[in-house]
Amino acid sequence: MKELHKKYVENLVQLQDKEGSEISDAFLSIFKSMLRASRGNIKKFQAMIRLSRKKLIRDAVMLVRDSQNKAKDLGREFGAVKLNAVEATSGE
């Protein structure tokens, strides 16, 4: 069980890192597009950041929901492994 727990933690940490950088990079990539579109005008860039907040957060909801679903799958998988181990022990 200890080895399975270890594997689960490693997979979980990997998933946390992957999902975190994917979503933060997605935000930064959009900001970079806005920066290019503002063509050197700092006021315009600022306005674009401000006006895009609702839409970007809405998009992030979808991405974070997707990340949460992956986390659910990972957790359920480990939960099933633990349950099987309990049932195997009680059946002995």
Partner: protein, 147 residues
């Protein structure tokens, strides 16, 4: 009151989304303050634009802070959700033991205390706080599990 996993999962999601929205607000405020600070120093808008560009292109300063805040929330939402689901699977078991995270050598006092305590039912552990739910000193970074 017994733990409702679906509701708990939704709360975890809503809190993290609200934190990401707040981080976006902080980015806006920080950028405004930074621009005003540079203007007060007599820096021209063209140069301010260049500095903000550098900061964004190299993920520095306010953008680094925003990136860190988003990543922290993803750590929380993914960590808490996986931990919740992995323990809910054993909710029908009467005797559950708190197993320490095998990947770390030093554990917080709460996890050590929980691992040394008697076995408990899922509902009893829920009242004390399931692993990763934030009731231990290591908070949502806890990767202990119930077995």
């Amino acid at each position: 009151m017994p733990l409702r996993p679906r509701q708990a999962s939704r709360s975890i999601f809503n809190i993290s989304m609200s934190q990401i929205d707040s981080a976006y607000g902080v980015l806006e405020t920080d950028m405004l303050a930074e621009i005003q600070r540079m203007r007060a120093l007599g820096i021209a808008d063209a140069e301010i634009f260049n500095r903000i560009s550098d900061s964004l292109n190299n993920s520095l300063d306010l953008f680094s802070k925003f990136k860190g805040a988003v990543e922290k929330e993803l750590d929380i939402v993914v960590g808490k959700t996986a931990q919740l689901e992995s323990n809910v699977a054993l909710s029908e078991q009467e005797k559950l033991r708190w197993e320490l995270d095998p990947t770390v050598e030093e554990h917080c006092v709460d996890c050590l205390r929980n691992s040394a305590s008697d076995q408990k039912s899922f509902d009893e552990w829920s009242l004390l706080g399931l692993p990763g739910m934030g009731n231990t000193q290591c908070g949502s970074y806890c990767k202990c599990t119930l077995t």
